[in-house]
Symmetry: C2
Subunit: 105 residues, 2 copies
């Protein structure tokens, strides 16, 4: 679903990735990480899709909340496995959302 | 592919969308819009994936380049068709990319 984020400004982390072959526990961990990230104070929402590349955008109220999530213990283990097993490449972009607008039928 | 963007800061436009049923000329226009956006001065790259939702992130050197693309004539026609035909909902977020880092095997 399209994330229901508050009025700007807020923050976005754009995580773009290329997967390696095979699952290697990736799918279970992805579900768990999404559940855990939602428990972090300042988490606002998440959007995700994968075709040739995967794009996951998570939204946060502050840079501090992003840092808290980056340093969360289980997430740190997942980050290590990401480099060792799951991703052939990724890029992380930390952004300030300055303006937004939307449309719906 | 993961977009090869320059050193921060630069800008990102996160376009998250839900499609209506059927193509209605969407696919051809999507390809054309990607080609046209690349011709705008300040365009840096684009990343796209669709599953339940579609996420397209385009990268730009400045807010002015984003505005130029938003007002481009063919793009304006596509935006109107987007509201009339292709999307049941979308959200556009204009962001300043403050920091980034990457990994590759």
């Amino acid at each position: 679903m399209i994330a229901l984020t508050p009025d700007t400004p807020y923050y976005a982390v754009i995580f773009t990735s290329l997967r390696t072959e095979g699952d290697h526990g990736y799918s279970d961990t992805a579900i768990l990480m999404e559940e855990l990230s939602k428990k972090i104070d300042g988490f606002l929402g998440i959007e995700s899709a994968r075709e040739e590349i995967g794009i996951t955008v998570s939204y946060w109220s502050s840079l501090e909340s992003i840092k808290t999530w980056k340093q969360q213990a289980d997430h740190r283990i997942a980050q290590r496995k990401g480099r060792e097993l799951w991703y052939s490449a990724f890029k992380v972009r930390i952004c300030k959302v300055e303006r937004d607008y939307e449309f719906s039928l």
